[in-house]
């Protein structure tokens, strides 16, 4: 056993770089895999734990107390066997304009709800900070934890609540988490006053909405119960279901986790290939030594064990590093979630998944090592010792004929070509490896360019290309003139001013399927003016037209030319689908519509956001400054690219992952070429000795190996670059389809793409150069072994 360990240690010492590179590959793959596992576990558990701990409702209904019959609704649900509990209707009110803090409106749109205490055992609130009590006392308000991240609000601060009679002060007495709106991605965001708290602020005449929550025994029954309810009762209010809350909570992590899963699998496969290649290389290198060991009584199992222990050690060191990295990466990705819901319920234990990952990697690596190392059992000690390595392959007659011609130009090139054909299988493997690396590197540079270019290529991502986004903090009343729009239309610096707003419409229930709300964007002018694109068909123009997000189109099973029925403002309206668009905004779910279509149903419908596109040469920063000087805090003015803030955060994560993958494959390239060179030297050791004997310098031999690698690289680049550039956009289309982008906004960067070529060549040359240093040690005396 000691001998095996000594051999193992000698192997590691002799191949430090190889060992290090393989270790890095294993660590990176483990990092990707464990991050994926961490996200997959992490995104579910906090939500489900939170939902369960706070006994959150699976169906949340917003009713007009003078339209829908709260008693009838409550009674119906109470009779359903799937229902665990139905909350009493709790009064709520949408606050317009937004509450004021230190003379500025807070950015969150607010629904003020009455909270009747956790004793109700339903829709409870978890107090993150502040005095623990049943509900806010008179004059107090509880705010959601995620507000704290967007504003500087803290316990003891006073929020001014706008009312008909002026601003009413409410003291923040607790910062809480609720299950449904925990991460603040859904609007409006609830804040809570005590029972009867709304009557302290608003005349009873103006309080007309209430929230009813239904908690089921099993979340899976939500859709069924809701569909049954809609068949039994003509519900006229608004509803939000468990699926939506869960989706909002998890969407970011679902995309990240999905991508990580793909890359992790990819990384694992590549790591296994590299491991196999390295083991193979090691066996070839140690051929003679293995033969000698066998003569000393080493069994095949002893030999295999030496490699198994070697890779066992590498894996034992590399995987924990990867797991540690994955742990930090997981928490980095979950940081916004932790910030929103606090750490109180974030109790994902990564211990067992880590142990599982560790053993899975270990098993995989050992299996591939065992399988590859088994070839060592074929080594015959006599042959190994006599040949001082694996049996030398001789050129076949015809090929020898080809290469027996004395090169007139340069012996180095001749040698390079000879190396190339000596082992065609391995050359082919290297070629394939290089093709793979070229693809990944081109994907990296062009993928990065596409992601970096989102600011300038927004329409392709489903965002408009305006320069500034201006939100009116106090919505216009019906008869109020829109001075801002008029002023912008008159401003010589403004090319386009277009108003937009968001609206949630409901798809009617189908048999066994509950109604579903989809969010659309309403515009007051031709969408083309602000660069929006339809990937099929055209923009909606008339009152009865709509364009659909591609994912909505797929989900609904309707496309251009079909009629889509939607509940808008309570009315079932038929719309003709005239276009399909894609957008990362809402993951291609939703619709575009013109304001005329909305006004057809609700003449009071107002849009309160302006998209401004400036004329060429106008400095958006100074224009924004001018607007702020003129309109101050009455409008919230931001750069339109800032709308992408959250998305860019997600994309940054993807970019980081791509960098990681790119680095992984640079390692792959290095290791592949390194191994190939080492094996080539080993296989051609005798010939190399001859070349040295006839006067060739080691440097010339090194160059010959470089020539060989360069020829393979050149072939790989000639085939791989155009092939990759052709496949890439299509592959990315498939990869991003899950995120709603059926046509990836691919932006090829010519220079970066071109730079991939010298980059590949440099890495290849470097790898050959480093690995072929051993040529310096080859002695011509090896020729005498026969």
């Amino acid at each position: 056993m000691k001998s095996i360990l000594l051999i193992t240690w000698a192997n590691i010492k002799r191949r430090k770089i190889q060992t290090f590179l393989v270790g890095i590959c294993i660590a990176l793959a483990a990092l990707l895999f464990s991050t994926m596992i961490g996200i997959s576990l992490g995104m579910k558990r906090p939500f489900e734990t939170l939902y369960s701990t706070l006994q959150a409702s699976h169906i949340v209904m917003q009713i007009d107390i003078n339209v829908d019959d709260a008693d009838e609704i409550t009674s119906w649900f109470q009779q359903q066997e799937e229902v665990k509990r139905v909350s009493a209707p709790r009064l709520s009110k949408r606050i317009r304009p937004n509450p004021i803090y230190k003379n500025k409106e807070i950015t969150n749109s607010v629904q003020l709800r009455e909270h009747h205490g956790n004793a109700q055992q339903q829709d409870m609130l978890s107090i993150m900070e502040g005095e623990a009590k049943e509900y806010p006392a008179p004059g107090e308000i509880w705010i959601p934890n995620h507000w704290r991240n967007n504003t500087a609000l803290s316990i003891g601060d006073t929020l001014m609540m706008p009312t008909n009679q002026g601003a009413y002060p409410l003291r923040i007495s607790a910062i809480v988490v609720d299950a449904q709106y925990a991460n603040g991605l859904a609007n409006p965001s609830p804040a809570w006053v005590g029972p009867g708290g709304l009557a302290m602020l608003f005349p009873l005449k103006d309080i007309s909405y209430a929230t009813i929550g239904v908690r089921l025994h099993r979340a899976e029954d939500t859709e069924t119960v809701w569909a049954r309810f809609n068949e039994a009762y003509s519900f006229k209010g608004f509803s939000t279901l468990y699926r939506f809350f869960k989706q909002v909570f998890q969407i970011v992590y679902q995309i990240t986790g999905g991508l990580l899963l793909v890359f992790a699998i990819f990384g694992i496969i590549v790591t296994l290939i590299i491991t196999s290649s390295v083991v193979n290389s090691a066996i070839k290198t140690d051929y003679k030594m293995i033969g000698m060991l066998k003569t000393q009584g080493f069994t095949n199992l002893n030999v295999i064990s030496a490699y198994l222990i070697q890779f066992f050690l590498i894996t034992c060191i590399a995987v924990p590093f990867g797991l540690l990295g994955g742990y930090f990466m997981t928490f980095l990705i979950f940081k916004p979630m932790i910030a929103a819901i606090g750490t109180i319920n974030f109790d994902i234990s990564l211990l067992w998944p880590s142990i599982g990952t560790f053993f899975a990697f270990l098993l995989g690596i050992l299996l591939i090592t065992y399988r590859t190392a088994s070839s060592a059992s074929q080594i015959l000690p006599v042959t190994a010792i006599r040949n001082n390595g694996p049996p030398q392959k001789s050129f076949s007659g015809s090929k020898q004929g080809l290469f027996s011609l004395r090169p007139k130009s340069h012996p180095v090139i001749f040698l390079g070509l000879r190396f190339l054909v000596t082992n065609k299988k391995r050359s082919l493997t290297m070629l394939v490896g290089l093709l793979f690396v070229i693809f990944v590197q081109l994907m990296y540079v062009n993928g990065q360019n596409s992601l970096y270019g989102i600011d300038h290529n927004r329409p392709a991502w489903g965002f408009n290309d305006s320069d500034l986004s201006v939100s009116q903090l106090t919505p216009l009343s019906q008869n109020e003139e829109d001075y801002f729009k008029e002023a912008m239309e008159d401003d010589d610096r403004v090319k386009v001013v277009m108003k937009r707003g968001f609206y949630g419409a409901t798809l009617p229930a189908q048999p066994g399927q509950a109604p579903k709300t989809i969010v659309g964007i309403i515009y007051d002018d031709d969408l083309e003016k602000i660069g929006l694109e339809q990937i099929e068909g055209r923009h909606p123009v008339f009152e009865n037209e709509i364009s659909l997000g591609v994912v909505s189109s797929q989900n609904i099973g309707k496309s251009i030319g079909d009629t889509l029925e939607l509940f808008v403002e309570g009315q079932l309206m038929p719309y003709s689908i005239v276009g399909l668009y894609q957008s990362l905004n809402n993951l291609s779910e939703g619709f575009y519509m013109r304001i005329e279509a909305m006004r057809e149903i609700n003449p009071l419908f107002q849009l309160n956001n302006y998209q401004l596109k400036l004329k060429r040469g106008v400095n958006s920063a100074s224009f924004k400054e001018d607007l702020e000087m003129s309109y101050g805090s009455a409008f919230n003015i931001s750069y339109s690219v800032d709308d992408l803030g959250q998305l860019k955060g997600i994309l940054r994560g993807i970019q980081d992952m791509m960098t990681l993958i790119s680095l992984l494959f640079i390692c792959v390239l290095f290791v592949t070429v390194y191994n190939d060179t080492v094996l080539s030297i080993r296989e051609s050791q005798r010939n190399l000795g001859i070349f040295k004997a006839i006067g060739m310098t080691p440097r010339q031999l090194q160059v010959a190996l470089v020539v060989k690698a360069l020829i393979i690289a050149a072939i790989a680049l000639i085939i791989g670059v155009p092939l990759s550039l052709y496949i890439l956009p299509r592959a990315l289309d498939q990869l991003t389809a899950v995120g709603g982008l059926t046509k990836f906004p691919y932006l090829m960067h010519l220079l970066w793409s071109a730079l991939v070529i010298p980059f590949i060549i440099i890495i290849t040359v470097l790898s050959v150069w480093i690995s072929s240093r051993r040529l310096l040690h080859i002695r011509p005396r090896i020729l005498v072994r026969e």
Partner: protein
Amino acid sequence: MYTIIHQIHMSMILFCLSISITAQAQRPELIEVDQYLTDYLQRIPVPGFSIAIVEDDQVTFSKGYGVERAGAAQRMTPASILPIGAVARGFTAMAILQLVEEGKLSLDQPIVEYIPWFTTANPEFSQQITLRMCLSNTTAIPPQYRSQPSLDESDALASFLESFSALMIKRKPGLSHEFSSEGYSIAGYLISQVSGMSYEAYIKEKILQPLRMTRSTAGPTFSYQSQILHGHEMGLDACTAAEADRPDPNYAAAGSQTYSTVDDLSHYMIALLNGGVYQGQRILSEAAVNQLFQPNSSFEGLGTMLGGNGIDIQYALGWMGMEIEGRPIMLHTGGNGQVASIIGINRQRQQAFAMLFNADVNQLDRFEYPGMEHIINNVIHLLNGEETTDFGVIKDNLRIEEDYDLPASDYQKYLGRYEPAGRQSPFFRGMSLEVRQNSGALMELLVHEDSTFKGHYELDFTNESRAILRNISQPQQIKFKIYPDGSIGGLFMRGSEFKKLDPDESQKYTTVSSPDGTASFELPSNLSYRWTADDELVAEADELRMSLTLSTLSTTSFENFVSTQLGSQLLVSSGLLNSMTIKKGIWTEQSLVTGSPGELSQQLCAIFQDPTSKRQINIAVVHPWGDYSINTVKMIQRIQRSVILR
């Protein structure tokens, strides 16, 4: 005695009037004007109007046309008293300039220097607002309408201004014109603060009295109160006499209750034409008068599509500068849905005119009837011996004619009463709608304020959910809200939403009448109640206790009522005091939390005051803190909808 004095006064007016007309009749231009206006009355469905024309310092023509009240015989005269609406802005501006001349105010100092507490939610803007901006409609404060009605008007302006603290101004003050009365409310409040008199008293003492405007007032204390004409509502093909005055809803106190006659306004016009002097008495310097007419902001004029010239209108201080067919005219119009007014000055020719209409001609269908600009322009033409023109007459037929017929079988689902929902346009505050089928089987819509008729329209459906309201006023579109099951949920009309009352819902309520029969309202059928010997209704359900008492009207009773309710209980927190117009009365309510920790109670104190019946209802609902439910809210809302005091 009063009757005799009144009769003598009226005889003197009529005597003077006859002299005036006789004298005027000798001038051919005035005869043409008279003939033109006589014809004009025939062309419009308005019962009557009055006009006064001033040239230099003389009233050269004044006359009433038609009758004061539809269906009555009393003729309109130059002495007929009518609300003058936004024409009163000129008085406010004049008063401010008087105070500027006295050195008590400055037009360009920020308001906060005079009212330090004045603020909006974004003080960096409200601190920039000046008096000039207030008077030229450039404060950027959007129309808020009056949110806190009260029977006690003494602090109405202050409370209105205080409510701006929750308001966000959307643009930098002083930049552009927006027709809003909030600036004039600020100006009115400043007048009272700087002069030490109420707005009404100041205008009376410093403007109306020096101008001998004896039949005019800027407030409710008016000796000719009973002679004020309320104007008319718009009917299907004629005007219907309005039963009560409709104060300008978007004009709090300062000028919102200004009434005058064309005779009185002619004195005002003489003073303005003569550099601020009337009958030798200077009420304003000539420089200040010029400043009144100096443009400060502008907005789009009457477009060519509507028969105008599209030239921008310049807004000065309470006056608008308009150019009609090359002639500059300073004018201002007013109207409140029941009456209309216009006053104009041609300073080049030293001519001025004032017209008061006892129906809101601004609201007449412009496709059928000429606008006020058309009439005024032609009166000026005739006065100067010129031919009349068609300025202000719509030349193109832009009417939308629909041939859709709503199936008669669908009528039923639209029929019923519709109550206001959410924030209401001031035009509909306290009003409800009724969709019905008339004797000719046509669908029509009626607007009611309690049991008082406020409007009558024929419903011309253009599709299942949209209809055009047609009567003598401008056609307007309404939208019905149709639910997925085909039922009608409500309708949208002129910026307001109305919910359709569910007839089944009324079965859940019982009408309760007071023992003396002076009050009735609805309570939930399952609520047990009893009347005590003191005419107090006591209802109890679970831990809720409601007491309802009837009494005579008292303007200061809310505070007393709350204090009585509180008794010796410890007040923990008091909610906002909210008041609103409910039907013809004012509803005031406040929520209070009382008691000690662990034993808190929530009380809703509400008073409904009805100035017509001089009665009020005091309501107190008490329940343990935390036991508040939608049933309490629904019960109060139901009482608000159903309460009737006699």
